[in-house]
């Protein structure tokens, strides 16, 4: 049962009894009013009966007075006659009003009145005669007959009123019984209705309540199972996982994390992450910023700095690669942080080996190109020496010596240039990019000429960056070498250099763009370009060039972007290298 449905049920449970009771009260009020009206009718009849009785008594009084006067002739005897005259008139008026609703009775009353008036005329006739004439038996007989008529009419009136009262009384009784029965029946009906209704609704609520309890039990079981499943999954992950609450207290560690940190989960639980997960920079040994703080600040997934070393509880050290992410509740609140990391000591060692192997390959290629450059003039010098041995003409000898000197000078210049190019300082120095790229182009010049490459350069004089010149030269030798290869025979290459203003994500620096006229980079290999051992050159490439170049540029705090050129004249690959004016590269450590 949903909340709105429950509320509706509650409202019904309150409203229906009120409604039924109001209806019942209305019904009873109606009954009571009907009974009261019947009682009024009864009172009305009683009043009429009383007044008719009274009227009869007054008639008797008048008749008695008249008789007395007739018998005695004494006017004193007429006192009751006179006293009754006024009340009789009043009584007639009152009765007429009371009987207004009953035309039959009114007719009878009028009959009575006319008979009375007739008798009055007769009585006044009697009173006007001499006393001796009054005792006329004929006259008496007539008076008696008239009075009998009045009495008969009054009795008739009385009789009818009595009958009417009886009818009304029966009606009133009937109403009273009906009232009682109605009361009883409505109590039973309302009670039963309310009872049935309430039982029905309460049963529905209770059923739904039981259902909800069942559902919740089921849900909590499912929840428990899924929690178990997640727990097992986290436990089984090959990477180390540490979860902590919003305050940085450890709440979970999987087996790998326990192994790498040297902490058992039971010991670590509740400890601050900094105690369990001690990380320092590999070389500087400066403690790294707490990942919890960083995540709380940035509220996003973060990768931790390179060269992070985890110091285990027993002092063991492992190089780790890790990331930290906020744990968000359903309503977007951050409720914790989860760290995922793994031991990359071996991987780092391997990478270092690869880098030095690429360095060796670069050195080998450099040696070959130096040998090539030097062998041409050396060959001439050897030839000149041979000619000098056989030559006797001093003029000719001088000419040969001069040429030999010239060629030796060229040899030395080449070797000096190469040496200066490849002498590597221990700390980053200011490097003139134009000089550096000119040096690289000098080295690649023969190769470009060989392929008939048309080279366009826009090199800005004053662009300086901080860094390690030999490494940067390795980068550009690699990138321009790739461009030469991509451009193919009689291709074109454009090298452009420009100042890059400081932006949100990087400081000011320089961008070097190398575009070739080759076929560009197929989209399927684009994501693999910077992976080690990926090569498109078959057996002639090591597949490490771009990977190492990327490493060097990143070490300098720069970036390499490779895309396809949008220039129609040069439709090949477009490589943009950003180098910051202030390098992030650290001083080389001994042995590197």
């Amino acid at each position: 049962m949903k909340v709105p449905e429950f509320n509706r049920t509650l409202r019904q449970l309150v409203a229906l009894p009120i409604l039924l009771l109001v209806l019942m009260a209305g019904f009873l009020v109606w009954q009571i009013v009907a009974a009261a009206r019947a009682q009024e009718q009864l009172d009305h009849s009683d009043q009429i009966t009383g007044q008719v009785q009274n009227l009869q008594n007054l008639f008797i009084d008048q008749e008695t007075g008249l008789r007395g006067f007739q018998l005695t002739g004494d006017p004193v005897m007429l006192a009751p006659w006179k006293a009754a005259a006024g009340p009789i008139q009043l009584q007639f008026d009152s009765l007429r009003t009371l009987m207004a609703d009953d035309p039959e009775q009114t007719a009878r009353l009028n009959d009575l009145k006319s008979r009375y008036d007739e008798w009055q005329v007769f009585a006044r006739g009697v009173l006007g005669k001499q006393p001796e004439a009054v005792v006329d038996p004929h006259l008496n007989q007539r008076g008696k007959a008239m009075m009998d008529g009045i009495r008969a009419t009054a009795r008739d009136l009385m009789l009818h009123e009595t009958q009417r009262r009886r009818t009304e009384y029966d009606h009133a009784r009937w109403l009273q019984n009906r009232e009682l029965i109605s009361l009883f029946v409505s109590i039973v009906v309302v009670g039963a209705t309310l009872g049935f209704f309430t039982v029905h609704h309460v049963r529905a609520v209770s059923k739904s309540y039981l259902q909800q309890i069942d559902d919740m039990t089921e849900q909590s079981e499912a929840l428990f199972e899924s929690q178990q499943w997640f727990q097992t999954t986290l436990e089984s992950i090959g990477d180390a996982v540490i979860a902590c609450d919003n305050h940085g207290a450890v709440s979970f560690m999987n087996a790998v994390a326990q192994h790498l940190t040297g902490w058992k989960l039971d010991d670590a639980r509740g400890h601050a992450l900094e105690d369990v997960f001690k990380i320092v920079h590999e070389e500087t040994r400066v403690p790294c910023e707490s990942p919890v703080e960083k995540v709380r600040r940035l509220r996003t997934v973060i990768g931790l700095a390179n060269h992070t070393v985890l110091i285990a509880r027993d002092g063991r050290e492992v190089v780790i690669d890790d990331s930290a992410a906020p744990i968000m509740s359903g309503d977007g609140e951050m409720i914790g942080v989860v760290l995922v990391f793994r031991d990359v000591t071996e991987e780092k060692r391997l990478q270092a080996a690869l880098v030095s192997s690429e360095k060796l390959a670069v050195a080998g290629r450099l040696a070959a190109s130096i040998a090539h450059e030097i062998h041409n003039p050396l060959d001439s010098v050897a030839n000149l020496h041979y000619l000098l041995e056989e030559e006797t003409d001093p003029e000719q000898r001088a000419e040969y010596l001069k040429l030999a000197q010239q060629e030796l000078g060229r040899t030395m210049q080449i070797s000096r240039t190469m040496l200066s190019l490849y002498r590597e300082p221990k700390a980053p120095i200011t490097v003139g990019l134009r000089e550096l790229i000119d040096g690289v182009l000098l080295l690649l010049d023969r190769r470009m000429k060989h392929q008939g490459i048309q080279l366009e350069t826009e090199l800005t004089e004053a662009l300086m960056v901080e860094g390690f010149p030999a490494e940067l030269r390795q980068v550009f030798t690699n990138l321009i070498g790739n461009a030469i290869e991509a451009a193919g025979s009689r291709g074109r290459i454009r090298i452009r250099m420009e100042h890059a203003a400081a932006e949100e994500l990087h400081g000011a620096g320089a961008v070097i763009e190398i575009v070739d006229s080759g076929v560009g980079i197929p989209s399927d290999i684009a994501p693999k370009l910077f992976q080690p051992f990926f090569t498109t050159k078959g057996a002639t490439g090591t597949g490490l060039g771009l990977w190492v170049s990327m490493g060097i540029v990143q070490k300098h705090g720069g970036a390499i972007r490779i895309a396809n050129s949008t220039d129609r004249e040069l439709p090949g690959a477009c490589i943009r290298v950003f180098l910051p004016a202030r390098t992030l590269a650290q001083t080389e450590t001994a042995g590197d």
Partner: protein
């Protein structure tokens, strides 16, 4: 003097050499983009008695090769526009009998090119080596050609 078959053979060779030298010095075509080196090499070869033609790039070398009677070619490998490999291939296709020496400072020469030419020589090995190898190349060619004619 002892006339052994060996002495006789070498004597005949020497005689033949002398004859060819005198009758017509062999013409050598030198192709190299290094102008100064080429000039010096020409002097060395001329001093050794060869008639020398020079070209500073592949295309002009090929046109000389087509126009003139050439007994041997001394070819640089690494040249702009058209490298020694292409030049050697063209020459082989047009006149396969002309021996070619590949003279280069380049260490990693393509294997199929090495097998295509008669002799390879690394620059800087000295003029004696150059002259010796050139002489052997021309000699073996002449011998095999005369052998073929008989």
């Amino acid at each position: 003097m002892l006339y052994s078959p060996w002495n006789l053979a070498s004597g005949v060779n020497e005689f033949l050499d002398r004859i060819t030298e005198k009758v017509a010095p062999p013409t050598i075509l030198c192709i190299d983009d290094e102008a100064l080196g080429l000039k010096i090499r020409r002097t060395v070869l001329e001093r050794a008695g060869y008639h020398v033609l020079t070209a500073e790039d592949g295309p002009s070398g090929l046109s000389l090769f087509r126009e003139q009677a050439v007994d041997g070619v001394v070819l640089d490998y690494y040249m702009p526009d058209m490298d020694g490999g292409v030049v050697a291939e063209t020459m082989r296709r047009e006149r396969p009998s002309v021996p070619i020496m590949l003279l280069s400072a380049y260490i990693n020469l393509p294997a199929d090119l090495v097998s295509l030419v008669d002799v390879t020589l690394l620059k800087g090995e000295g003029p004696q080596e150059l002259l010796e190898k050139l002489r052997l190349m021309l000699g073996s060619r002449c011998a095999s050609e005369s052998g073929g004619a008989r």
